[in-house]
């Protein structure tokens, strides 16, 4: 990175300056220039971190009758501690600068670090400027900002470049075509390009080549699968209950709907409505009903292991929490026990929201262990989704059950009719009853056997009469307080009920209303995060006062307004991002540049970050040729190390024992992998996939030895390496050097550099010599498979390891 600041020479060693020094230095510059401090950007984070805990929105814990989250009004800061324009007359200033530990704020025993000089200077300047409060940025509806005119390029680039130039930085050059192709394929479909796709793109010199690529990827059926992965984290989708016995719970139709919705580019406002209130459409279609299964994704306990009222309450809280995180980027659950400490969400707000979600016509716990529902992982209400043939069979079997029931009823009736020869007659009647009972049991059995093969979707369903909702004192399920009505938080736009009692549909409309400040912003930010590794707001799960300040607030608002006005078009948004020069920059930079801005918030280069677990596994499957590209359907169980479930299963857990699937099912994309919350697949969790117990908008990205062990030693990955090695050795009639080129290009989308190739050739030769001396090892490694004709087994073994080594390169785990 070249710094071009006027005041410092190009190679200022910024990385060696501790953060505080850096901050003070920058601040000094700021004050010297006499520029304004902004409340939301500069002041609010300080007050929120250090003061709001005791002097914020939470009335219950407010100290000294003082709130610093607003100036005007009762207990506001202007009443007592801030004299706008005059720090010397403001007690706030005296308190944060006092030498007296009894006077100093925050109090030394509060666990809050004292303010440093830079932070004090910001507060001082703010008071001098008049101590103006601003509404919190994220709670103000987005307005279209002016697009910078001093640059040419896409609006995204103009906003980014303006920011870069303010920092004295320059953007980077475009990445090369291979890198761009790989990057875009991974970002939009989660799969690397094939050799054919590489050739096609390299040979396409037309000006539209890149745009065509973007369009092609957005139209791929794998696009929806990849998009769904992010969404399923956010809504904590899984295949088991998550608590106690952790029984099977089948929500796969919901997943299928999410995948199709992204592939069909269902507008995001509709996508939201379907999930919040799909069941409340006047003539709800199948998709809308399936989407309402969103409300069934929470953890749920099985009957008989807890108190039902407690379970009921936990489910409702979980539902409200998921709506808060997934759609609004708010931590509403903080208000379960008390008013939110940092955001203006009161307990009343939380429980008023809960009144939309407490009226489900379902048991709060999953049912007993008998019957087809249990085996199917279902709990009413649900809808069966038979195909035509199944529907016909089912109708037939249901009719058979009806007939058997009728037969039994008439047999029983016969018994009660007085007869001339009671004894003989009775014996005959009893015999008939027995037969009828058997027929009924057989009919039911046949019906149930069919039922377990039919997909079904759990849905949301409202009870006819709304359940009253109460504030729960300290969040305790058995301590109801005041009754509350359905409503939305007061600091957000008012709810408009279509008629009478507000419904979930009203709530859904409210969420996607033009005035709602959060829904679209939060969504746009997450899509941006997908494309750059980090959101414009880094805390994509929290847009409240404790969340992070956006790196490019104007850009976020620009994109949000464009998103809404363009009809909540997700593909259009992703295309706009992909077409920007900002997105297309190379990620090659100096180590100093990486240290200076490791998360690439300023976007002076292309983003480089570790890929998610699913993308890593799918890349291995895809490049090795093993991937089963079939889309949609039930979850599958690819092999995993033995004994993992045993460690967490209860004796009557269903399923208790992990039985891997067979055939090409095990090579389906990872989005279909069976997700047991109590023990998710290790190939996923070792690379930071969440357990799906909580709504997660942003995954951690760690680098650990266990990841290295997984990539090195996982049998399934070695199998993939063996498969690819075999394929290339048997189909590519060329020199070993060229065969290495093909494998390298297949896996990394790049050709090896000459010295890399030399190193690879040497490894291949050394390993082949080593294996040539140990035929037993070769046999073990090749797992009993016969090598292709004309290929020495030792070479296949050597190429298997070489391929496996390539699967361990940094580039396989990194989007760059």
């Amino acid at each position: 990175m070249n710094r071009i600041s006027r005041s410092s020479p190009p190679k200022t060693p910024m990385k060696s300056l501790p953060y505080v020094v850096l901050l003070s230095m920058c601040l000094g510059t700021a004050l010297a220039h006499g520029e304004d401090v902004k409340f939301n950007r500069d002041v609010r984070p300080i007050l929120s971190n250090r003061c709001f805990h005791c002097h914020g929105p939470d009335e219950e814990h407010r100290e000294a009758g003082l709130r610093l989250d607003r100036g005007e009004g009762p207990e506001g800061a202007y009443e007592s501690v801030i004299e706008p324009g005059s720090p010397e007359d403001s007690e706030l200033w005296a308190r944060i600068t006092s030498d007296d530990p009894d006077m100093l704020m925050p109090p030394p025993d509060s666990q809050k670090p004292p303010l440093d000089d830079a932070e004090r200077a910001i507060l001082r300047q703010w008071i001098e400027q008049g101590a103006d409060y601003e509404g919190f940025w994220a709670f103000v509806p987005p307005a279209a900002p002016d697009i910078p005119t001093e640059f040419e390029g896409t609006p995204i680039d103009r906003f980014v470049w303006r920011r870069l130039s303010e920092e004295g930085l320059e953007p980077s050059e475009r990445a090369d075509k291979r890198t761009l192709l790989r990057r875009l394929s991974l970002d939009l479909t989660g799969l690397p390009p094939t050799l054919e796709e590489i050739q096609e793109f390299l040979q396409d010199d037309s000006p539209r080549a890149y745009e065509n690529l973007v369009d092609r990827l957005l139209a791929s059926p794998h696009f929806g699968e990849h998009m769904a992965k992010y969404w399923l984290d956010l809504v904590r989708f899984a295949d088991t209950n998550g608590i106690h016995h952790d029984h099977y719970r089948d929500l796969s139709p919901y997943r299928d709907w999410v995948i199709r919705a992204f592939n069909d580019n269902l507008p995001y406002d509709e996508f939201t409505r379907y999930q919040i209130a799909g069941d409340l459409y006047p003539e709800a279609d199948q998709d809308q009903l399936v989407a309402s299964g969103f409300h069934r994704l929470h953890l749920i306990i099985d009957v008989g292991t807890a108190l039902p009222q407690e379970s009921f309450t936990r489910n409702v809280i979980d539902r409200v929490t998921s709506v808060g995180t997934a759609f609004m980027g708010l931590t509403v659950q903080c208000a379960v026990c008390h008013d939110h400490k940092y955001d203006p969400i009161t307990m009343r707000d939380f429980y008023s929201l809960s009144a939309f979600f407490n009226n489900i016509d379902a048991e709060p716990e999953t049912g007993g262990r008998r019957g087809p529902d249990f085996r199917r992982g279902l709990q009413p209400p649900y809808i069966n989704l038979p195909d035509e043939q199944q529907a016909a069979q089912l109708a037939e079997l249901k009719a058979r059950v009806h007939a058997a029931e009728a037969e039994l009823a008439s047999a029983k009736a016969a018994l009660e009719e007085p007869e001339e020869d009671p004894d003989a007659q009775q014996a005959e009647a009893e015999k008939q009853i027995k037969q009828a009972e058997q027929n009924l049991a057989d009919a039911e059995q046949a019906r149930d056997n069919l039922l377990v093969t039919i997909p079904a979707a759990m849905v949301m369903k409202e009870r006819p009469e709304p359940r009253p909702a109460y504030m729960l004192i300290r969040g305790a399920y058995d301590k109801p307080g005041e009754q509350v009505q359905r409503d939305t938080p007061a600091f957000l736009p008012p709810l408009q009920a279509a008629e009478g009692e507000p419904t979930r549909m009203d709530l859904a409309d409210w969420l996607v209303g033009r005035e709602h400040p959060l829904t679209a912003r939060v969504a746009v930010n997450r899509f941006w995060q997908q494309m750059f590794g980090v959101g414009i707001v880094r805390t994509s799960e929290d847009f409240g006062a404790q969340g992070a300040w956006p790196s490019h607030p104007d850009l976020l608002d620009y994109l949000t307004v464009a998103f809404i006005e363009g009809g909540w078009d997700v593909k259009a948004l992703l295309k706009e991002i992909a077409m920007s020069e900002t997105y297309r920059q190379t990620s090659v930079a100096s180590p100093e540049a990486y240290q200076h801005d490791s998360a690439n918030r300023l976007l002076a280069r292309g983003s480089r970050f570790r890929l998610d677990s699913e993308v890593i596994r799918d890349s291995v499957l895809g490049t090795s040729g093993l991937l089963n590209p079939e889309i949609l359907g039930k979850s599958v169980k690819p092999p995993q190390p033995e004994g993992l479930w045993k460690a967490v299963s209860m004796p009557s857990s269903f399923p208790r024992v992990f039985v891997p699937d067979e055939g090409d099912k095990i090579y389906r994309r990872s989005v279909y992998t069976f997700w047991k919350r109590g023990m998710p697949p290790p190939q996923m969790t070792i690379f930071d996939a969440p357990t799906r117990e909580e709504c997660i908008a942003r995954r951690e990205r760690t680098n650990t030895p266990l990841q290295a062990l997984l990539m090195l030693n996982e049998r399934e990955y070695l199998k993939a390496a063996r498969h690819l090695a075999r394929h290339v050795l048997s189909t590519c009639e060329a020199s070993p050097g060229e065969q290495i080129d093909v494998i390298h290009e297949t896996i990394t989308s790049h050709l090896p550099a000459p010295d890399e190739k030399q190193a690879l050739m040497k490894l291949a030769t050394d390993l082949e010599a080593l294996y040539a001396e140990s035929p037993a090892l070769v046999e073990e490694l090749l797992g009993g498979e016969t090598p292709p004709s004309d290929v020495p087994p030792a070479r296949w073994a050597a190429f298997t390891l070489l391929t496996s080594s390539l699967y361990n390169l940094d580039i396989i785990k990194t989007r760059q």
Binding site: W161, A593, R608, E694, T702
Partner: protein, 474 residues
């Protein structure tokens, strides 16, 4: 005009270095913070204050042992046996299976005073009775939850709902690790399944590198820490050298320091894999030690003893938090037989662990903790329908734990329950206090050890006020 030219022109024309720098600094601070975290996640970090203990061995007795058959002797119950408890005691109580007015069940075992401290220990724990002067016994622990899964999660993560970081993860996060060939947080299991599941050693929202690693009883102890068939170590070393070489080359081209972090992770992985077999080989111990614990390699009946010895070996190698789970304490029926059998499997090894650590000079900086997720009722549980008799139900109001080693005052008994063993009447200790105590012994202030997640500073001990148990601290 190129992009560079455009930005440069704009910059020199009309752009000063503005107040935006402040925001820049905070953006970059995030970058620094996240960068340093991922660069050396395991590097030892200084505690908040001088630590007495460097590591923890937590013997978690899953299912909830009866305190009335082990540490909390209540002769009064024998007197009242067969009669209901007074209404004043049971008012407002709820149970999982029994009615509050169920009859009282007297202690099933005799108790005697042991050691210089004179602590009362039940006759089914003769070995532990011999080391009682090294223990601090707390008879006044209480919890908020009374079903296994949430209560186990509560002890281990501070919350009854899955998803929070576990105690071991907090310690790994707060203190790093002293082992360079082992994870910082290891989980060992015996005795059956655990209701709380893997969420009990989850890193929750902490970086997943701090997650507990469950050593498996079959195959390689660490997942994927053995070579696939036909892939021997010389071949692997060659392959690793190539991977390193190519990754280093890539770093030189790209500049991202994360690549270096991953190179280091591969080296640590190789060390883990190479040294794991030696770690697991209990036959390296002398006969006296094997005999002390009652170790029988590959005998599932001795799994707990084997794990206790393994725990000591892990402690020697610098692992920060070693959690030894032993399930099977949920005695809704035949509490007498149940507790006897469990003690036969665990008593000797628990005592051996204390003795062994002590004679190796390790007890002074190793904190050993023993306990379950709640206690059991003074009332009998019996149900013809469920086939239960002479059992005890879940009892969150009072149970017993013990502590020993680094930071703990030995030879004391703290807290007391009423004469029925029902309620705590002296020095109540909440589960969060227990957690605060463990952190304290390791030099961490439970109020300061926090992690920002979803805009809030989370900590192991929740938001209410809690304290380390001062009386049992050395």
């Amino acid at each position: 005009m190129t992009l560079q030219q455009q930005t440069r022109r704009h910059f020199f024309q009309d752009c000063g270095v503005g107040v935006g720098k402040i925001a820049l600094a905070s953006l970059l601070a995030e970058s620094f913070a996240s960068g340093s975290e991922s660069a050396t996640p395991f590097a030892p970090k200084p505690p908040h204050f001088a630590a007495k203990a460097k590591r923890v061995i937590y013997l978690f007795m899953a299912g909830a042992p009866s305190q009335l058959e082990t540490f909390d002797y209540k002769p009064k119950l024998a007197e009242l046996e067969g009669r209901p408890l007074p209404p004043s005691v049971i008012k407002g109580q709820r149970y999982a299976f029994i009615q509050p007015d169920a009859a009282v069940l007297g202690p099933r075992f005799g108790f005697q005073k042991h050691g210089e401290c004179g602590a009362e220990i039940s006759e089914v724990m003769p070995h532990l009775a011999e080391v009682v002067d090294d223990l601090a016994i707390v008879r006044s622990v209480r919890t908020d939850l009374f079903n296994h899964s949430p209560a186990q999660l509560f002890v281990n993560t501070g919350s009854g709902v899955p998803g929070r970081p576990s105690m071991g993860s907090w310690l790994s996060y707060g203190l790093g690790s002293e082992a360079d060939d082992l994870p910082s947080f290891v989980v060992l299991k015996s005795g059956g399944s655990l209701s709380g599941g893997a969420a009990m050693w989850s890193a929750g929202f902490l970086p997943s590198v701090h997650q507990g690693v469950n050593f498996r009883s079959q195959g390689a102890p660490i997942l994927h820490a053995s070579n696939p068939e036909g892939y021997d170590q010389p071949a692997q070393r060659q392959s690793l050298d190539l991977i390193r070489q190519l990754n280093q080359q890539h770093f030189a081209e790209v500049g991202d320091p994360e690549i270096t972090t991953r190179i280091n992770a591969y080296e640590m992985a190789f060390r883990m894999q190479t040294r794991a077999p030696e770690l697991m080989d209990l036959s390296q111990e002398d006969d006296e030690t094997l005999e002390l614990y009652g170790v029988k390699p590959n005998d599932s009946g001795a799994a707990f003893a084997n794990n206790c010895l393994l725990a000591r070996r892990l402690a020697e190698r610098g692992v920060r938090f070693i959690q030894v789970y032993h399930a099977g304490w949920d005695h809704h029926s035949d509490v007498e037989g149940g507790v006897r059998r469990q003690c036969e499997q665990t008593d000797r090894a628990c005592a051996a662990l204390i003795r062994d650590l002590k004679q190796r000079g390790m007890l002074q900086d190793t904190l050993v903790v023993w306990g379950g997720e709640f206690g059991r009722t003074p009332m009998v549980e019996a149900s013809a329908a469920l086939g239960r008799s002479m059992g005890r139900d879940h009892h969150p109001q009072a149970f017993t734990m013990w502590f020993a080693g680094g930071g703990i005052r030995p030879g004391i008994t703290h807290g007391a329950t009423d004469e029925l063993g029902f309620h705590v009447v002296e020095n109540p200790v909440h589960v969060h206090d227990v957690q605060a105590t463990i952190l304290h012994c390791l030099g961490l202030d439970h109020e300061r050890l926090s992690f920002r997640f979803r805009g809030l500073n989370f900590r192991l001990t929740g938001v209410e006020e809690h304290h380390p148990i001062r009386a049992i601290l050395a």
